[in-house]
């Protein structure tokens, strides 16, 4: 056999191998050419945690775990359950239900729901309180469908510098599904919102052992009644045309297109019209962002105090390179396809661009099918690296409101709103 690389003679390779002891035996075991084996870096196990620097990986670093109705996903925490979706599931516009990420706040989450007892209540400051069974929800109201991205407010929190406490998500705390159910507006109209109402509160079957009135007792979220997002919100009972997995909110889940997932109440059971603003922990203290451009501030400003915050709402524009994954060295001259997804909580994606020189020059990628303004939009671009070397591929998206992904990081104490341009290193080698 001829040595596969110029400049590395077989004799030299053997010399090097004998220096590393077992290397040669292993190389022979696999029938590999020693000259090639010598080039192989030792495989390195991923540490069980990252930091204090940035998490350098696309995903978080937990082990895989199998939970009911789910494919093996990346474990962040087991009680309550928090699971991240591995990168390869984002090659398509719709994320499979069994691979869809999971994020609960409190430990008492349903293992069983009895639909003979369960009713969706519309109550509070309404003329006619309602209690609807799932069958009434499916039959008495006109079904609608919408493709919408559900993304955790803290997606990519492990990129923050300095790091902030909280769920150390990589990029996989997001997913896109076709949600089918009933318009929230139809339900509110059926119950009749009374004059003087200000907010609508959502409560699911998520509770914890904490005392009543504390954030560790029950998870509650509210939206302003004047918020136009209420007209697009849906109480979904189907996810990608199937019942919603228990861990994603069976039997019904609120869908708030364009908004972060904190409002997408799982196992939605109470819709409560309020005549005064919701002061519960999850509105007043949790899930708030600085009222600054991109919700960004500094640790120093936080320490000094006086940073005004507002409840988090819409998702800034983001895009991702999904394939090829890391670890693929490209032979020079080979034409490959870069693939990924883009989305924005502010509306339709109008442009995706890629850069092969670390975000210096850009060219347009081709976008895939349009599934609606709040859906993942797939994109792809052919790339033929001509000369060997190291390349930094970057991707950025723009939405119809003129928002373009910036190349600057975000920092806030909650670890929210990350949308910096994503980059990935590629090594391009010689093909002869």
């Amino acid at each position: 056999m001829e040595p596969l690389r110029r400049g590395v003679s077989r004799r030299n390779a053997l010399k090097l191998l004998s220096a590393v002891g077992g290397g040669l035996a292993i190389a022979r075991c696999f029938g590999a050419d020693p000259a090639v084996a010598q080039e192989m870096p030792p495989s390195k196990a991923i540490e069980p945690f990252t930091g204090p620097g940035q998490n350098p990986h696309w995903n978080s670093v937990g082990p895989y775990v199998s939970e009911p109705q789910k494919a093996p996903l990346i474990l962040l925490t087991d009680r309550p359950v928090q699971l991240e979706t591995p990168r390869s599931y984002f090659q398509t516009a719709f994320t499979p239900n069994d691979a869809f990420y999971v994020r609960w706040h409190l430990s008492e989450i349903p293992n069983r729901v009895d639909l003979a007892e369960w009713k969706l209540k519309i109550e509070g400051n309404v003329n006619k309180p309602l209690a609807l069974s799932l069958s009434e929800l499916m039959e008495k109201f006109k079904p609608v469908s919408i493709a919408a991205v559900n993304q955790c407010s803290g997606n990519s929190r492990s990129r923050f510098q300095p790091r902030v406490p909280g769920g150390q998500w990589g990029n996989g705390a997001m997913g896109n599904a076709m949600w089918t159910g009933v318009r929230l507006r139809d339900l509110l109209d059926a119950a009749g919102v009374k004059q003087g109402s200000v907010q609508v509160q959502f409560q699911g079957l998520e509770t914890g052992p904490g005392p009543k009135g504390s954030g560790s007792n029950v998870f509650l979220k509210s939206l302003e009644l004047t918020d136009p997002v209420l007209d697009e919100a849906v109480v979904a009972y189907l996810m990608n045309g199937e019942p919603i997995p228990m861990l994603n909110g069976f039997p019904a889940r609120l869908v708030v297109p364009g908004y972060f997932a904190t409002y997408w109440m799982k196992c939605l059971t109470w819709i409560r019209v309020l005549s005064a603003a919701d002061e519960n922990f999850w509105m007043k203290t949790g899930y708030r962002v600085p009222e600054t451009p991109r919700g960004s501030t500094t640790p120093e400003a936080m320490k000094a105090g006086g940073v005004k915050t507002v409840p988090i709402t819409r998702m800034p524009v983001r895009s991702f390179l999904v394939s090829p994954d890391v670890g693929s060295k490209m032979p020079a001259g080979m034409s490959i396809t870069l693939r990924g997804i883009a989305f924005s909580g502010y509306g339709k994606i109008v442009k995706v661009e890629i850069s092969e020189d670390g975000a210096k020059s850009w060219r347009e990628a081709q976008m895939g099918e349009d599934h609606g303004a709040y859906s993942f939009r797939t994109w792809e671009a052919r790339w033929t690296p001509k000369t060997p070397g190291n390349y930094t591929v970057a991707v950025r998206a723009a939405d119809e409101k003129g928002n373009v992904q910036p190349d600057e990081p975000v920092w806030n104490p909650g670890g929210y709103l990350w949308n910096k341009i994503e980059k990935q290193e590629f090594a391009v080698g010689r093909a002869d």
Partner: protein, 141 residues
């Protein structure tokens, strides 16, 4: 329910789950919640769906419980006992190494914001344990 060949331990797990539900605050008729398996650290099992029937009950097996191994040292017992009342200690190991002041703030947040019933002396012990093993200077595992 678990795989049939594990029916012994799975019965135990169901019992443990039932106890958790009784102990928890969420035992309404319309749903049962908070059932986690008693799986020990790092043995992750596969789950199968419960038996199907045509009634209106929809259930899944207990969620996995995979406690991490925490660093040995003074305050470990207090940390495991008090923190695990509300959440798995994976909430500790999942974090990046955090500065000592951040750990102190986290423990205070659990007590003041989330009303965790931790006596002051114990809280100090827990904070000191976390600062000894989980800061950028000290974290090893």
């Amino acid at each position: 329910m678990r795989l049939a060949r594990n029916s012994g331990p799975s019965l135990l797990r169901l019992l443990a789950g039932a106890l958790l539900v009784v102990a928890g605050s969420a035992a309404f008729a319309q749903f049962h919640s908070g059932s986690y398996s008693s799986t020990k650290a790092d043995t992750i099992e596969q789950t199968v769906s419960p038996l199907t029937s045509s009634d209106a009950n929809y259930s899944v097996s207990p969620f996995a419980s995979v406690a991490p191994k925490l660093a040995e040292g003074e305050g470990l017992a207090e940390t495991e006992t008090f923190c695990a009342t509300c959440h798995s200690t994976r909430y500790i190991t999942m974090q990046p190494p955090l500065p000592a002041a951040t750990w102190e703030a986290e423990v205070n947040k659990m007590i003041k914001t989330f009303a965790a019933p931790i006596p002051e002396a114990t809280a100090k012990k827990i904070t000191s344990y976390l600062q000894t093993h989980y800061t950028p200077e000290t974290r090893k595992q």
